[in-house]
């Protein structure tokens, strides 16, 4: 059975960039444990001789001609941004001051 800890969930939340409250972390720890126990049954039949399928209808080398086609204007690209400055996205500081 899986041993999912609250510490692990907090770490996953950090990796996934979601601030979770302590209550959410506790609830998710229980739920995640139940879900992982249930989905772990894939290992019963996933033996080494079975190849993996990542894509149901595999296509390879999907190319297009290298020609310029109409694309979004700067104004369109910025139209949904929470903040912008001139023709650029404006973001909070990338690096912490410390």
């Amino acid at each position: 059975m899986s041993e999912i800890t609250a510490e692990q969930v907090a770490h996953l939340a950090n990796l996934a960039r979601i601030d979770l409250s302590p209550e959410e972390i506790n609830r998710l720890t229980t739920e995640l444990g139940q879900i992982v126990d249930s989905v772990a049954k894939v290992a019963e039949v996933a033996t080494p001789d079975v190849p993996a399928t990542s894509h149901p209808m595999p296509l390879t080398n999907v190319f297009r001609p290298d020609t310029v086609v109409p694309s979004l204007t700067v104004e369109q690209a910025l139209s949904g941004a929470p903040d912008h400055d001139g023709d650029k996205f404006r973001v909070p500081a990338i690096l912490d001051e410390e």
Partner: protein, 515 residues
């Protein structure tokens, strides 16, 4: 005068073509009905009344000028909110995209517009299509037109409720693990998940890229075929789009209406999709449908798909893994909301985390965390890697089954529509709703749900699922149209004619832009 909202898209097409009615009249009739009942049903997140009437007037003018128009020109359509529309908000049912108006149309939306259809608005859904009931929509659930206290299925409950309550004759849906077929089943409507790659995913806000597929939501098999012909076919903007040329699905559906269309068809009953956990009335209607098929000359064959029992487990690893990656794009920089953390320095990373906490609902958080776990170093092979192997085994099960039979059938969902709140506290119980529909997504094969009666114990719709080999969507339409004709002949009416009439609410609330 005929009640325009009760007509199929095919019938409307005929009346529009010979100019017995105008598109403005048809569009207005649907908008008025939405205004009258959608406060109760809540199928729509956005209704574009003025734009729809203006588009309809343009189609009428073109027809009057003698332009050659497609068969569905002038027919209204509802669009699932997961699809990007450049003139309407596209939120995928999430707060994180509240009010977002994309700068481009999804390819299917573009094709629908080019074919002259009239977009009425955007339909409700579980947030980012994660759910089977619309209860995870950030904007409140949609209500089942058969019983407003019950779920309309999900994630595409809004599109299914819109067509089954006669708010629109046609809708677009998307199906990652059953989001078109399960809502169709519980609302007594028709839904088709095409072959993976058969319909463009460009502009469909991605949930799980190897599973998502856009498809038609309608009241009849023939209408679904007409819409499939509009939206299907290769799209260079989607690198997973198949380059095959496709036959006319409408012609395939018409072939199913011929006498003897079911003679000699080998129909496989998947043993593993009819056992425990299925409601008695669902089983009963399924058995009766098989008996009707046999009477009509079809050969019923039991087939086994032993690995289907691992499908849900594989799905709930593959989907969260892909979703956690796809939803990383919601970083509060390029689109959507931005929320600052309550305290501490304002760095991009911390703003992103605060935004995603405020913008994502509980199911989305659950699946992102699960997916992040399944993809982490040390667990990847055991979980995600194994799930991909199960996918191979399920494809092999389909191959073996289709070596014996022409189509596979099962109930579309294990139960009829359940009541709000019944499964909200138990994620695994909610996930089990998809047991019948998930295998088709994992293998990429096409699937359809159509009504096969009402469960005797609760009087609610039951759906029949039909699956065909990959790329043989046309077979689905031929067989589906034949089954629909057979069932309706046995009832003497359509199933949806038995749905309760919804009374208009006192407050009409569907002005432009009302959410």
């Amino acid at each position: 005068m005929t009640n325009l909202i009760k007509l199929s898209a095919a019938d409307l097409s005929g009346l529009l073509a010979d100019r017995s009615v105008s598109s403005v009249e048809v569009t207005r009739a649907h908008l008025d009905h939405i205004a009258a009942i959608d406060t109760d049903v809540h199928a729509f997140l956005h209704v574009a009344r003025d734009a729809a009437l203006a588009t309809a007037a343009r189609i009428d003018a073109r027809r009057a000028a003698g332009d050659v128009l497609g068969p569905l020109a002038g027919v209204p359509i509802a669009i699932k909110d997961v699809l990007a529309t450049q003139d309407m908000p596209s939120t995928a049912g999430s707060k994180i995209l509240e009010g977002w108006i994309p700068p481009y149309d999804a390819t299917v939306v573009r094709r629908v517009r080019d074919a002259g259809l009239i977009p009425l608005g955007k339909t409700n859904m579980d947030e980012f299509a994660m759910g089977s009931s619309t209860e995870f929509s950030a904007y409140g659930p949609t209500h089942n037109p058969w019983d407003l206290d019950r779920i309309p299925g999900g994630s595409g409950g809004g599109s299914a409720a819109a067509v089954s309550s006669f708010e629109a004759p046609l809708a677009l849906g998307s199906d990652t693990g059953g989001s078109i077929r399960q809502p169709a089943a519980v609302t007594g409507s028709v839904g088709v998940k095409p072959t993976y790659g058969g319909v463009s995913r460009y502009g469909s806000i991605a949930l799980a890229s190897s599973l998502d597929q856009v498809g038609p939501v309608t009241r009849t098999v023939y209408d679904a075929a007409l819409l499939h012909d509009v939206i299907g076919g290769h799209d260079p903007l989607d690198s997973t789009s198949l380059t095959d040329s496709w036959p006319s699905m409408a012609a395939a559906a018409r072939a199913g209406l011929a006498d003897g269309a079911l003679q000699g068809v080998r129909v496989g009953v998947v043993k593993e999709l009819a056992g425990e956990g299925f409601q008695p009335g669902v089983k009963q209607r399924f058995e009766e449908t098989l008996a009707l098929l046999a009477q009509a000359g079809a050969e019923i064959v039991e087939v086994s798909a032993p690995n289907f029992e691992y499908a849900i487990a594989a799905y709930y690893l593959i989907l969260p893994a892909e979703a956690s990656s796809n939803l990383a794009r919601f970083d509060s920089v390029r689109f959507g909301i931005r929320v600052d953390p309550a305290e501490g320095p304002l760095t991009s990373e911390r703003v992103m985390a605060a935004t995603r906490d405020a913008g994502f609902g509980p199911e989305v958080k659950r699946r992102i965390i699960l997916g992040t776990y399944a993809l982490s170093a040390g667990y990847y092979d055991a979980y995600y890697g194994s799930a991909q192997k199960v996918r191979t085994l399920i494809q092999r099960d389909f191959d073996a089954a289709f070596a014996q039979v022409d189509v596979l059938v099962s109930p579309s969902a294990p139960t009829t529509a359940f009541k709000f709140g019944e499964k909200m506290t138990d994620p695994m119980a909610m996930y089990l709703n998809d047991v019948t529909t998930i295998p088709a997504n994992l293998a990429g094969v096409p699937g359809m749900s159509l009504p096969m009666g009402l469960a005797p114990e609760d009087g609610l719709p039951v759906g029949l699922q039909i699956m065909a080999p990959a790329k043989l969507d046309a077979r689905l339409y031929t067989f589906g149209a034949a089954v629909e004709r057979l069932l309706e002949a046995s009832w003497g009416h359509t199933l949806l004619s038995q749905a309760p009439e919804l009374a208009p609410t006192e407050m009409f609330a569907s002005e432009e832009g009302v959410v």
